[in-house]
Each structure stands twice: as C-alpha cells, then as structure tokens.
Amino acid sequence: MSAAPSPALTSPDRLRLYRQMHLVRRFDERVMELFGQGLIKGTAHACCGQEASAVGVCAALGPHDQVSSTHRGHGHLIAKGGCVDRLMAELFGKETGYSRGRGGSQHVAAYEVGFLGSNGITAGGLPIATGAALAIAHRQEPHVVVAFFGEGATGQGAFHEAVNLGAAWKLPIVYVCENNLYAMGTVISQTSPVPHVADRAQGYGIPGVVVDGNDLDAVYAATVEAVTRARAGAGPSLLECKTYRIYGHSKGDSERVYRTRAEEATWAAHDPLVLAAARLRADGLLDDASDAALVAAVYDRIEQAVEFAKTSPDPDPAAAATGVFAGE
C-alpha cells in the first residue's frame, strides 16, 4: 500500500495513549492477582503484551465508530473509552458491571462508547461487526467499525464469510487481527497454509497489511490509513498486528508448555510499553520521575476499580431468569 500521511499525534495524545497502555496492562495483571486470591471466579484472558494493538487501533477511531472484540477483550474496551470500574465489577459478577454480572469477562458490551461486545465464540464478533458496518453504510454515516480477532479465528468459517461479505459490499470496516502466534496452545504455523494472516486479504480483494503490533505508532498509522479508506467508501482492509501475549492463554495456563522461555524472552525485549516509553524519553516527553508518577497513578486507578467492584452489590438472585426478552 502507498503510505498515506497520518494525522500526527500530539505530545499530550502520546502520553495519554502511553498511560492507557499501562492502564490495560495493570488491569489485566490485577485481574490475574484477584483470580489467585479467589476474588474473581470463572475465566479471563489477559491481553498483557498486546496493549499497542488495542490502544493504537482505537486511537484512530472516534466516539461514533464501533468496535467488536474477542474473548481477550479488556484492552479493547478500555482503549475504546470504557470504564475500568464497570469492567472490573463485571469480572466480580456484580450488578454494577457492564453486563450486570450476566456476561463476565468474555461478554461485555458498552454501547455508549461504541463497544459492540467482547465475545466468547472465536470469530463470533466478525459477522456482528460487519452488520454494524452495514447499518452505517445503509444510513450513509461517516463512521467505521473495527472487528478485532485473533489469528485462531481464521480457522472459522465466520471469519471468511464476514470478510468476504464486507469486501464484496465495500462496507466501512477494518478487520484487525491480533496475531499472538498461539490459538490457546496451537501455533499458527501448524494450522495456516500462509505465513501471514494479512495474506488472506488477497482472496477477498482488499488490502492486507502486516504491522508490528507492539509498536503503538505503527499500529496507529496503519489503522488511520485503513480507517480513512473505509470512511471514503473504498471498503475494508485486513490489518494484521504481530504481537505476543506475555502470559498464558487463560488463568489456567501457567506452564505454557507449547512455547519456550527463550521465545518469551525475545518478545519481552520487544514489550510495547518499553518501546513506547523509550520513544517518549527520546523525544523528551518522559523521564524517570514522570514515568513513575504515571504508573503510580494507573495503579491507584485500578485499585479504585477493585474497590468499586468489591463494594458493589451482587445481582438479585430473584432476577436470574428475567430480562431474557426485551420489553417484558
């Protein structure tokens, strides 16, 4: 693709996005601690290590743009402007959670910030997001949709069906793959005949772009280009963010038997937070003191969220089977 100039991020923007990445990181680290303490039950999938794709993509979106997410979706929601209190409360199974405790980690929607929902079915969000893009196109609105998915989703028919349809109808959507190499424990090279998920785009006649998914600026620039194209009515793009999850698939995957500690060390040296901090320091926007203050403020904010969740009420057991249908 030709390089389109992306609107430069201002210094405050860059610091805000850096802080947001820390917020995502700390949120999911704290969630794992809370699991360990038995304060959160069920399951959750930490997106630590993948903050740059969530934050970089959403930085290119406006409030009326929509996002659909995956099972590993806390970062997407936070990056789209979601409230960490209500997200944490959802994980605690509280009535104040976004889904009032009905959904849990994998089933959170926040329509007021354009978040169509995280999704417990691999590739399940792609048809939904494509439908949201259809609605936008139908009403000739200037908005776009981003459908996040993991590389494992490319094994699903729903992925191919949705991208094919979105491309055929030139809908205003960007399909964003967060390729963290492993679908649970199965490495993508065992299950895909092509080296890059973005290669799939050729089959649908849309641009396929590979980007360093741990590089916030690169993700942002590539998203701006794809979003600009979608807004202009030129149709979808497939953006592949190469990334890596620091922790296991879910809270139960502490041994990570399918990958080596050496591979993890290589990726740790390419941590998105470290990369972003280095750039900010090089540009004179961050130093030891301001970095420490920023991180401390993030920790405080997450503790507030934990406190909010802890002190929130449980859902009313009498309401367990109510609200199945709207209007009743």
Partner: protein, 326 residues
C-alpha cells in the same frame, strides 16, 4: 375480505412495514432479483431498491450475524434463510449471539431481528430441504418463534415479528405458500402468545401449529363426518411465547389432548407441550396424552416413504379416533 395466498400475505406484511418503517431492510440469498426461492419477496427489489433488499453470499451464519449487528445499530432487519434446514449453518449466530445478547450484555440493547425461513416436507425435497426444526430453537432461551398456519396469520404475525424488539424466528410453512385464505387489509397485526381455535369441538383437543393445523382440521372434519366425534383444533400460532393458559383451558374443557408436530418425535415440541399439560391440567385428563409426530428418521425423497415419515391427516384421524374412545 380479500382472498390471498399465504406467500402474498407475507409480502403484504413486508410491504406494509417497509412503507411504514424506514429501518426495515431485507437480507437474504436470492431475495432481490430472483424474488426468493418461494417468491415471497418478488417485486420488492423494484419497489425498494438494492439498499433495502439485499442479495447476499451463501453464508447463513454471517447473514444472521449481519442482521444482529445491524439490529444493534438501530435497524430492523429481516433475514431470510432459504430453507429451515440451513438454520443448522446459522446456529452459532442465532443461539450464541442473537438470542443471548440482550440478557448476556446486561439488557443494554435489544436485538430486533426477524429470521424468516420455510419449514416442512411434503414436496419430495428430501432430508436436507424438508425439516421442521422448531424444537432446536425453542430450546434456546431468547428467541421468539412464530409459526403461522393461515394467510391471515402469515401477515398478522409477521407484522408483529417486525415490531418486536427481540429476535424472532419466523417459520413459514413451505406447503402453505400456495394456500389461500381471507386476509384483512391494512394493519392486522396478530399478537404473539395467543392461540387460536381453528376448529371447535368438545370431544378432544388437537394442538398444532403451522401446516399441521390444516391437516388436523381436515382429520377432524373426517372424524366428525364418519364417527360423529368433534375434535377441537387449537392453533398455537407462536411456540415462544407459548400460550399455556389456552392449552390448559382447552384440555380442561375436553379432557382429551393430542399434539401434532411435523418434526421428529424425540425431544420434540410436542413432548414439551405434553409436559406443560401434565403440569397445568393433569387432573382434567380423562385419557393419556397422545402425540402424532414425524418419525425419528431423515425425511426421505420418495413420496411412498415421505408420507410415512411425516404426520398426515389419516394418521392424525386414526390417533384422534383412538383417543376419543380411550
């Protein structure tokens, strides 16, 4: 009141609502230029244009997801699945997504989606183009299910479906498309959850929906003519919501009940209705419950076999005769 084909009554409902509500759009395979496999949407492309009548790729799962996503954004999509058998391809989006979103996401936003689909056999289409799969979806909380048996209800229930804020599976009788009946003009919406007495009778109650209502009425007429047995036929109209109150009242009045279902016997809708009767009207039963359902076999092509697998009027009449004399 004008006589109208069931298929035309459906089209009338679509036209009525598309004229009235700009948010309604039609999505499906071959629904635009072709007019739908059973011609229900014939002429609507010309009337509303390709923006509101959209031909799609053959991707049933994504069509339902597309409708769900558009519904979340405030449209009121009507998705056509060409044969009910193909619902199997869309089960994930129907059951794990559309049906659950309102509850699962904390009741934030409804999913006003209609999925229209023709069900049933009798045309020799064979095992993958003949099924009645209501029971699968009735087993999935969050979906409403309408099954009109007459042209008037085809129009009236479809109007209601398009105005409902929930996902509605709208089951059309494949053999009913060419049936004629009186259909009111204008807005004749029929509320969900209100069964209809299709035939009066005091000796027993036959409970049915969709095409089996007509079969039951024919069987009942024959029974009356040959044996003087008067069977009441109750048309459920919708399976979700299920009008348990009317079922119980009917059973209480006649003391004998039989359920007719085109789908297979095991774990069918009939089994559920039977248990509801057990829960609500057991003390009124003068004889054991009966059911006449499809056999537990794929639906074969050959007419000689298909008519054995599917319930039909003579099997219903025989069972009703036995029940009346039990």
């Amino acid at each position: 009141m004008p006589q109208m084909y069931y298929s035309h009554a459906l089209r009338e409902a679509l036209i009525h609502e598309m004229d009235r509500d700009e948010r309604v759009l039609l999505i499906g395979e071959d629904i635009a230029a072709y007019g739908g496999a059973f011609k229900v949407t014939s002429g609507l492309l010309e009337r509303y244009g390709p923006r509101r009548v959209r031909d799609t790729p053959i991707s049933e799962n994504t069509l339902v997801g597309l409708g769900t996503g558009a519904a979340l954004m405030g449209l009121r999509p009507v998705v056509e699945i060409m044969f009910m058998d193909f619902i199997a391809l869309a089960m994930d989006q129907l059951v794990n997504h559309a049906a659950k979103f309102f509850y699962m996401y904390g009741q934030q936003r409804p999913v006003p989606l209609v999925v229209r689909t023709p069900a049933g056999g009798g045309r020799g289409y064979g095992p993958t183009h003949s099924q009645s799969l209501e029971a699968w979806l009735m087993h999935s909380p969050g979906l409403k299910i309408a099954c009109p048996a007459t042209p008037a209800d085809a129009k009236g229930l479809l109007l209601t479906a398009m105005r409902d804020d929930n996902p509605v599976l709208f089951v059309e009788g494949k053999l009913l498309y060419q049936e004629q009946g009186e259909v009111p003009a204008g807005d004749c919406a029929v509320p969900f959850g209100q069964a209809r007495e299709a035939r009066a009778g005091s000796d027993l109650t036959i409970i049915a929906w969709s095409r089996m209502v007509g079969e039951a009425v024919i069987a009942a007429d024959a029974l009356a003519a040959q044996h003087g047995i008067e069977a009441q036929v109750l048309d459920l109209r919708t399976l979700v919501p299920l009008d348990v109150e009317s079922i119980a009242a009917a059973v209480a009045a006649t003391g004998r009940a039989m359920i007719v279902e085109e789908g297979p016997t095991t774990c069918g809708v009939a089994a559920e209705i039977g248990f509801r009767i057990f829960e609500t009207a057991f003390e009124y039963l003068d004889a054991p419950l009966q059911r006449v359902c499809g056999l537990d076999a794929p639906i074969p092509c050959a007419g000689a076999l298909e008519q054995v697998v599917l319930p039909e009027r003579s099997r219903i009449a025989s069972a009703a005769y036995r029940l009346a004399n039990a």
